[in-house]
Symmetry: C2
Subunit: 204 residues, 2 copies
Protein backbone atom coordinates (compact mmCIF):
# COMPACT_ATOMS: atom_id res chain seq x y z
CA UNK A 1 0.00 0.00 0.00
CA UNK A 2 1.16 3.47 -0.84
CA UNK A 3 2.26 5.48 2.18
CA UNK A 4 -0.34 8.09 1.28
CA UNK A 5 -3.29 6.06 2.44
CA UNK A 6 -6.47 6.77 0.62
CA UNK A 7 -9.48 5.16 2.17
CA UNK A 8 -10.23 3.39 -1.10
CA UNK A 9 -6.78 1.84 -0.94
CA UNK A 10 -7.86 0.08 2.20
CA UNK A 11 -10.09 -2.97 1.88
CA UNK A 12 -10.97 -2.30 5.50
CA UNK A 13 -13.30 0.46 4.38
CA UNK A 14 -15.55 -1.36 1.96
CA UNK A 15 -19.15 -0.45 2.73
CA UNK A 16 -21.64 -3.25 3.37
CA UNK A 17 -24.42 -1.38 1.53
CA UNK A 18 -24.16 0.90 -1.51
CA UNK A 19 -23.48 4.48 -0.36
CA UNK A 20 -22.09 7.63 -1.89
CA UNK A 21 -18.30 7.13 -2.01
CA UNK A 22 -17.71 10.43 -0.22
CA UNK A 23 -18.68 8.86 3.11
CA UNK A 24 -15.83 6.37 2.90
CA UNK A 25 -13.40 8.71 1.16
CA UNK A 26 -13.74 11.12 4.10
CA UNK A 27 -11.39 10.21 6.88
CA UNK A 28 -9.21 11.89 9.47
CA UNK A 29 -5.53 11.86 8.52
CA UNK A 30 -2.89 13.62 10.59
CA UNK A 31 -0.33 14.07 7.82
CA UNK A 32 -0.96 17.39 6.08
CA UNK A 33 1.21 19.25 3.59
CA UNK A 34 1.35 22.65 5.35
CA UNK A 35 0.37 24.44 2.14
CA UNK A 36 -1.55 27.70 2.21
CA UNK A 37 -5.28 27.32 1.57
CA UNK A 38 -7.11 29.88 -0.55
CA UNK A 39 -9.64 31.76 1.57
CA UNK A 40 -12.28 30.87 -1.03
CA UNK A 41 -11.86 27.18 -0.21
CA UNK A 42 -12.31 27.79 3.49
CA UNK A 43 -15.46 29.79 2.76
CA UNK A 44 -16.78 26.88 0.70
CA UNK A 45 -16.33 24.54 3.67
CA UNK A 46 -18.13 26.96 5.98
CA UNK A 47 -20.87 27.47 3.41
CA UNK A 48 -21.56 23.73 3.33
CA UNK A 49 -21.79 23.75 7.12
CA UNK A 50 -24.16 26.72 6.99
CA UNK A 51 -26.78 24.59 5.22
CA UNK A 52 -26.87 21.90 7.90
CA UNK A 53 -30.21 21.05 9.48
CA UNK A 54 -30.94 22.16 13.04
CA UNK A 55 -33.88 22.03 15.42
CA UNK A 56 -36.30 24.85 14.56
CA UNK A 57 -33.62 26.03 12.09
CA UNK A 58 -31.89 27.83 14.95
CA UNK A 59 -28.42 27.20 13.47
CA UNK A 60 -26.60 27.16 16.82
CA UNK A 61 -23.17 26.56 15.24
CA UNK A 62 -20.43 29.19 15.30
CA UNK A 63 -17.02 28.86 13.68
CA UNK A 64 -13.79 30.58 14.65
CA UNK A 65 -11.43 30.05 11.74
CA UNK A 66 -7.84 30.81 10.90
CA UNK A 67 -5.62 30.16 7.90
CA UNK A 68 -2.01 29.23 8.53
CA UNK A 69 -0.80 32.52 7.09
CA UNK A 70 -2.97 34.58 9.43
CA UNK A 71 -1.58 36.44 12.40
CA UNK A 72 -3.98 34.56 14.70
CA UNK A 73 -2.69 31.13 13.65
CA UNK A 74 -0.48 30.56 16.68
CA UNK A 75 -3.18 31.62 19.12
CA UNK A 76 -5.63 29.10 17.72
CA UNK A 77 -3.01 26.36 17.43
CA UNK A 78 -2.17 26.96 21.10
CA UNK A 79 -5.61 25.84 22.31
CA UNK A 80 -4.96 22.29 21.07
CA UNK A 81 -3.39 19.80 23.44
CA UNK A 82 0.27 18.95 22.87
CA UNK A 83 -0.51 15.71 21.05
CA UNK A 84 -2.73 17.42 18.47
CA UNK A 85 -0.54 20.51 18.15
CA UNK A 86 2.28 18.26 17.07
CA UNK A 87 0.60 17.25 13.81
CA UNK A 88 -2.06 19.94 13.36
CA UNK A 89 0.63 22.58 12.89
CA UNK A 90 0.95 21.10 9.39
CA UNK A 91 -2.70 21.85 8.60
CA UNK A 92 -3.76 24.64 6.26
CA UNK A 93 -6.65 25.88 8.37
CA UNK A 94 -7.88 25.49 11.93
CA UNK A 95 -11.48 25.91 13.00
CA UNK A 96 -12.93 25.97 16.50
CA UNK A 97 -16.56 24.86 16.50
CA UNK A 98 -18.89 26.39 19.09
CA UNK A 99 -22.58 25.89 19.74
CA UNK A 100 -25.10 28.21 21.32
CA UNK A 101 -26.51 26.47 24.40
CA UNK A 102 -29.49 28.84 24.54
CA UNK A 103 -32.42 29.16 22.17
CA UNK A 104 -35.18 31.75 21.79
CA UNK A 105 -38.12 31.30 24.13
CA UNK A 106 -41.58 30.58 22.80
CA UNK A 107 -43.84 33.59 22.18
CA UNK A 108 -41.17 36.13 23.08
CA UNK A 109 -40.40 34.64 26.47
CA UNK A 110 -36.86 34.44 27.88
CA UNK A 111 -34.21 32.32 26.22
CA UNK A 112 -34.10 28.74 27.34
CA UNK A 113 -31.55 25.91 27.26
CA UNK A 114 -31.34 24.13 23.93
CA UNK A 115 -31.53 20.36 24.01
CA UNK A 116 -29.94 19.85 20.61
CA UNK A 117 -27.18 22.44 20.20
CA UNK A 118 -24.37 19.88 20.27
CA UNK A 119 -26.18 17.49 17.96
CA UNK A 120 -26.90 20.31 15.52
CA UNK A 121 -23.27 21.43 15.63
CA UNK A 122 -22.31 17.85 14.82
CA UNK A 123 -24.40 17.97 11.66
CA UNK A 124 -22.65 21.18 10.62
CA UNK A 125 -19.27 19.55 11.32
CA UNK A 126 -20.20 16.60 9.07
CA UNK A 127 -21.24 18.94 6.26
CA UNK A 128 -17.91 20.75 6.56
CA UNK A 129 -15.92 17.52 6.55
CA UNK A 130 -17.73 16.05 3.56
CA UNK A 131 -17.35 19.25 1.54
CA UNK A 132 -13.65 19.25 2.43
CA UNK A 133 -13.30 15.77 0.99
CA UNK A 134 -15.14 16.82 -2.18
CA UNK A 135 -12.71 19.70 -2.56
CA UNK A 136 -9.63 17.49 -2.20
CA UNK A 137 -8.98 18.25 1.44
CA UNK A 138 -9.55 16.28 4.61
CA UNK A 139 -10.84 17.63 7.91
CA UNK A 140 -9.82 16.08 11.23
CA UNK A 141 -11.84 16.87 14.36
CA UNK A 142 -10.10 17.06 17.70
CA UNK A 143 -11.59 16.58 21.15
CA UNK A 144 -8.10 17.06 22.59
CA UNK A 145 -8.47 20.76 23.25
CA UNK A 146 -7.76 22.92 26.29
CA UNK A 147 -11.35 24.10 26.48
CA UNK A 148 -10.81 26.66 29.24
CA UNK A 149 -7.89 28.16 27.39
CA UNK A 150 -9.92 28.21 24.16
CA UNK A 151 -12.68 30.12 25.88
CA UNK A 152 -10.30 32.64 27.38
CA UNK A 153 -7.95 33.22 24.49
CA UNK A 154 -10.61 33.20 21.77
CA UNK A 155 -13.11 35.29 23.76
CA UNK A 156 -15.93 32.75 23.73
CA UNK A 157 -18.98 33.99 25.71
CA UNK A 158 -20.34 31.68 28.40
CA UNK A 159 -23.49 30.74 26.52
CA UNK A 160 -21.47 29.04 23.79
CA UNK A 161 -20.05 25.57 24.28
CA UNK A 162 -16.64 24.91 22.79
CA UNK A 163 -17.33 21.65 20.97
CA UNK A 164 -14.23 20.60 19.03
CA UNK A 165 -11.36 21.96 17.01
CA UNK A 166 -10.94 21.00 13.36
CA UNK A 167 -7.76 20.80 11.30
CA UNK A 168 -8.15 21.02 7.53
CA UNK A 169 -5.51 20.40 4.92
CA UNK A 170 -4.36 18.43 1.95
CA UNK A 171 -3.21 14.96 2.89
CA UNK A 172 0.54 14.33 2.81
CA UNK A 173 2.67 11.21 3.09
CA UNK A 174 2.84 9.71 6.55
CA UNK A 175 6.59 10.40 6.51
CA UNK A 176 5.90 14.04 7.45
CA UNK A 177 4.58 12.85 10.83
CA UNK A 178 6.58 12.29 13.99
CA UNK A 179 7.59 8.62 14.11
CA UNK A 180 5.02 7.38 16.67
CA UNK A 181 2.17 8.71 14.54
CA UNK A 182 3.27 7.23 11.23
CA UNK A 183 2.00 3.75 11.86
CA UNK A 184 -1.35 5.10 13.06
CA UNK A 185 -1.94 6.91 9.75
CA UNK A 186 -4.50 4.37 8.53
CA UNK A 187 -8.20 5.02 7.85
CA UNK A 188 -10.23 3.53 10.67
CA UNK A 189 -12.86 0.81 10.39
CA UNK A 190 -16.33 0.76 11.89
CA UNK A 191 -18.48 -1.50 14.08
CA UNK A 192 -20.81 -3.76 12.10
CA UNK A 193 -24.24 -2.27 11.44
CA UNK A 194 -25.78 -4.96 13.62
CA UNK A 195 -24.08 -3.44 16.67
CA UNK A 196 -25.46 0.06 16.15
CA UNK A 197 -28.85 -0.30 14.47
CA UNK A 198 -31.80 -2.25 15.83
CA UNK A 199 -35.30 -2.92 14.53
CA UNK A 200 -38.15 -1.50 16.58
CA UNK A 201 -36.61 -1.25 20.03
CA UNK A 202 -33.37 -1.50 21.95
CA UNK A 203 -32.30 -5.16 22.14
CA UNK A 204 -31.87 -7.17 25.31
Amino acid sequence: MNQLNKSSASGRRTPDHPIDPVFVDRWSPRAFDAAPMPAAHLLTLLEAARWAPSAYNIQPWRFLYVLRDDTHWRRVLAVLDAFNRDWAQQASALIVLLSDSLMPGVDGRAEQPSRTHSLDAGAAWAHLALQATRLGYQAHAMAGVDFDKARRSLGVPGRYRVEIAIAVGRQAYAAVLPQPLREREIPSTRRPLGEIAFPGRFPG
Copy 2:
Protein backbone atom coordinates in the same frame (compact mmCIF):
# COMPACT_ATOMS: atom_id res chain seq x y z
CA MET B 1 -43.87 27.59 -8.00
CA ASN B 2 -44.86 23.99 -8.12
CA GLN B 3 -46.55 22.82 -4.94
CA LEU B 4 -43.89 20.11 -4.62
CA ASN B 5 -41.14 22.45 -3.49
CA LYS B 6 -37.69 21.37 -4.42
CA SER B 7 -35.01 23.41 -2.77
CA SER B 8 -33.58 24.24 -6.20
CA ALA B 9 -36.94 25.72 -7.13
CA SER B 10 -36.46 28.26 -4.41
CA GLY B 11 -34.12 31.18 -5.07
CA ARG B 12 -33.99 31.51 -1.30
CA ARG B 13 -31.54 28.61 -1.19
CA THR B 14 -28.82 29.82 -3.50
CA PRO B 15 -25.46 29.23 -1.84
CA ASP B 16 -23.07 32.17 -1.48
CA HIS B 17 -20.04 29.98 -2.19
CA PRO B 18 -19.76 26.96 -4.52
CA ILE B 19 -20.75 23.79 -2.65
CA ASP B 20 -21.89 20.31 -3.54
CA PRO B 21 -25.57 20.66 -4.52
CA VAL B 22 -26.57 17.92 -2.09
CA PHE B 23 -26.24 20.33 0.84
CA VAL B 24 -28.93 22.60 -0.56
CA ASP B 25 -31.03 19.82 -2.07
CA ARG B 26 -31.33 18.26 1.40
CA TRP B 27 -34.16 19.81 3.33
CA SER B 28 -36.84 18.79 5.81
CA PRO B 29 -40.24 18.49 4.19
CA ARG B 30 -43.29 17.24 6.09
CA ALA B 31 -45.27 16.02 3.08
CA PHE B 32 -44.40 12.40 2.42
CA ASP B 33 -46.10 9.90 0.11
CA ALA B 34 -46.66 7.08 2.63
CA ALA B 35 -45.13 4.55 0.24
CA PRO B 36 -43.36 1.44 1.51
CA MET B 37 -39.55 1.75 1.54
CA PRO B 38 -37.41 -1.22 0.55
CA ALA B 39 -35.39 -2.43 3.52
CA ALA B 40 -32.28 -2.17 1.36
CA HIS B 41 -32.76 1.59 1.11
CA LEU B 42 -33.04 1.98 4.85
CA LEU B 43 -29.87 -0.06 5.28
CA THR B 44 -28.10 2.25 2.84
CA LEU B 45 -29.06 5.26 4.96
CA LEU B 46 -27.81 3.58 8.12
CA GLU B 47 -24.63 2.50 6.35
CA ALA B 48 -23.84 6.10 5.44
CA ALA B 49 -24.35 7.05 9.08
CA ARG B 50 -22.07 4.22 10.19
CA TRP B 51 -19.11 5.88 8.47
CA ALA B 52 -19.48 9.17 10.32
CA PRO B 53 -16.48 10.48 12.25
CA SER B 54 -16.49 10.35 16.05
CA ALA B 55 -14.06 11.16 18.84
CA TYR B 56 -11.61 8.27 19.24
CA ASN B 57 -13.78 6.44 16.67
CA ILE B 58 -16.08 5.38 19.51
CA GLN B 59 -19.18 5.52 17.27
CA PRO B 60 -21.61 6.38 20.07
CA TRP B 61 -24.65 6.47 17.76
CA ARG B 62 -27.43 3.88 17.96
CA PHE B 63 -30.44 3.69 15.68
CA LEU B 64 -33.85 2.20 16.42
CA TYR B 65 -35.57 1.92 13.07
CA VAL B 66 -38.94 0.86 11.77
CA LEU B 67 -40.52 0.66 8.33
CA ARG B 68 -44.15 1.63 7.99
CA ASP B 69 -45.16 -1.96 7.25
CA ASP B 70 -43.53 -3.27 10.42
CA THR B 71 -45.52 -4.36 13.44
CA HIS B 72 -43.55 -1.88 15.59
CA TRP B 73 -44.53 1.13 13.44
CA ARG B 74 -47.29 2.40 15.74
CA ARG B 75 -45.14 2.07 18.84
CA VAL B 76 -42.39 4.22 17.36
CA LEU B 77 -44.85 6.71 15.87
CA ALA B 78 -46.40 7.06 19.31
CA VAL B 79 -43.23 8.52 20.84
CA LEU B 80 -43.52 11.62 18.63
CA ASP B 81 -45.44 14.60 19.93
CA ALA B 82 -48.89 15.18 18.46
CA PHE B 83 -47.71 17.86 16.05
CA ASN B 84 -45.08 15.61 14.48
CA ARG B 85 -47.24 12.49 14.55
CA ASP B 86 -49.73 14.32 12.40
CA TRP B 87 -47.43 14.50 9.37
CA ALA B 88 -44.80 11.84 10.17
CA GLN B 89 -47.42 9.12 9.90
CA GLN B 90 -47.02 9.62 6.13
CA ALA B 91 -43.29 8.79 6.29
CA SER B 92 -41.88 5.51 4.99
CA ALA B 93 -39.49 4.93 7.88
CA LEU B 94 -38.97 6.26 11.38
CA ILE B 95 -35.67 6.22 13.20
CA VAL B 96 -34.92 7.11 16.81
CA LEU B 97 -31.34 8.27 17.22
CA LEU B 98 -29.59 7.52 20.52
CA SER B 99 -26.08 8.26 21.72
CA ASP B 100 -23.98 6.49 24.31
CA SER B 101 -23.14 9.01 27.05
CA LEU B 102 -20.31 6.82 28.38
CA MET B 103 -16.99 5.96 26.79
CA PRO B 104 -14.28 3.44 27.62
CA GLY B 105 -11.84 4.56 30.30
CA VAL B 106 -8.17 4.98 29.55
CA ASP B 107 -5.94 1.95 30.19
CA GLY B 108 -8.81 -0.33 31.14
CA ARG B 109 -10.18 1.98 33.82
CA ALA B 110 -13.91 2.45 34.42
CA GLU B 111 -16.11 4.00 31.78
CA GLN B 112 -16.34 7.75 31.90
CA PRO B 113 -18.75 10.40 30.59
CA SER B 114 -18.26 11.26 26.95
CA ARG B 115 -17.99 14.95 26.08
CA THR B 116 -18.88 14.52 22.42
CA HIS B 117 -21.57 11.83 22.17
CA SER B 118 -24.28 14.24 21.03
CA LEU B 119 -21.98 16.01 18.57
CA ASP B 120 -20.88 12.67 17.13
CA ALA B 121 -24.48 11.53 16.82
CA GLY B 122 -25.18 14.75 14.94
CA ALA B 123 -22.52 13.88 12.39
CA ALA B 124 -24.12 10.47 11.90
CA TRP B 125 -27.52 12.13 11.48
CA ALA B 126 -26.10 14.42 8.78
CA HIS B 127 -24.61 11.46 6.93
CA LEU B 128 -27.96 9.72 7.02
CA ALA B 129 -29.83 12.78 5.79
CA LEU B 130 -27.44 13.47 2.92
CA GLN B 131 -27.51 9.85 1.78
CA ALA B 132 -31.31 9.98 1.91
CA THR B 133 -31.28 12.98 -0.42
CA ARG B 134 -28.89 11.19 -2.79
CA LEU B 135 -31.27 8.25 -2.88
CA GLY B 136 -34.31 10.39 -3.73
CA TYR B 137 -35.68 10.57 -0.19
CA GLN B 138 -35.68 13.31 2.41
CA ALA B 139 -35.07 12.88 6.13
CA HIS B 140 -36.67 15.21 8.67
CA ALA B 141 -35.33 15.31 12.22
CA MET B 142 -37.70 15.94 15.10
CA ALA B 143 -36.88 17.32 18.53
CA GLY B 144 -40.60 17.14 19.33
CA VAL B 145 -40.46 13.74 20.97
CA ASP B 146 -41.81 12.44 24.27
CA PHE B 147 -38.36 11.44 25.46
CA ASP B 148 -39.49 9.67 28.62
CA LYS B 149 -42.03 7.67 26.68
CA ALA B 150 -39.43 6.83 24.04
CA ARG B 151 -37.09 5.51 26.70
CA ARG B 152 -39.78 3.41 28.31
CA SER B 153 -41.54 2.03 25.28
CA LEU B 154 -38.40 1.41 23.22
CA GLY B 155 -36.41 -0.03 26.11
CA VAL B 156 -33.56 2.49 25.99
CA PRO B 157 -30.99 1.88 28.77
CA GLY B 158 -30.11 4.84 30.98
CA ARG B 159 -26.63 5.36 29.57
CA TYR B 160 -28.04 6.23 26.16
CA ARG B 161 -29.44 9.68 25.45
CA VAL B 162 -32.48 9.84 23.20
CA GLU B 163 -31.36 12.54 20.77
CA ILE B 164 -34.00 12.98 18.06
CA ALA B 165 -36.45 11.07 15.95
CA ILE B 166 -36.13 11.06 12.17
CA ALA B 167 -38.85 10.63 9.55
CA VAL B 168 -37.74 9.46 6.11
CA GLY B 169 -39.79 9.31 2.97
CA ARG B 170 -40.31 10.41 -0.57
CA GLN B 171 -41.52 13.96 -0.80
CA ALA B 172 -45.17 14.45 -1.76
CA TYR B 173 -47.24 17.48 -2.71
CA ALA B 174 -48.04 19.82 0.14
CA ALA B 175 -51.72 19.07 -0.44
CA VAL B 176 -51.32 15.81 1.52
CA LEU B 177 -50.65 17.87 4.66
CA PRO B 178 -53.22 19.16 7.13
CA GLN B 179 -54.15 22.71 6.10
CA PRO B 180 -52.09 24.62 8.71
CA LEU B 181 -48.90 22.86 7.59
CA ARG B 182 -49.30 23.41 3.86
CA GLU B 183 -48.10 26.98 3.79
CA ARG B 184 -45.08 26.09 5.92
CA GLU B 185 -43.90 23.49 3.38
CA ILE B 186 -41.08 25.69 2.07
CA PRO B 187 -37.33 24.99 2.30
CA SER B 188 -35.85 27.21 4.99
CA THR B 189 -33.14 29.83 4.51
CA ARG B 190 -30.03 30.35 6.60
CA ARG B 191 -28.29 33.16 8.49
CA PRO B 192 -25.55 34.88 6.49
CA LEU B 193 -22.12 33.37 6.91
CA GLY B 194 -20.96 36.57 8.59
CA GLU B 195 -23.26 35.84 11.54
CA ILE B 196 -21.91 32.36 12.22
CA ALA B 197 -18.22 32.36 11.19
CA PHE B 198 -15.57 34.67 12.55
CA PRO B 199 -11.85 35.07 11.83
CA GLY B 200 -9.50 34.30 14.70
CA ARG B 201 -11.67 34.91 17.73
CA PHE B 202 -15.23 35.57 18.85
CA PRO B 203 -16.22 39.11 17.86
CA GLY B 204 -17.18 41.86 20.27
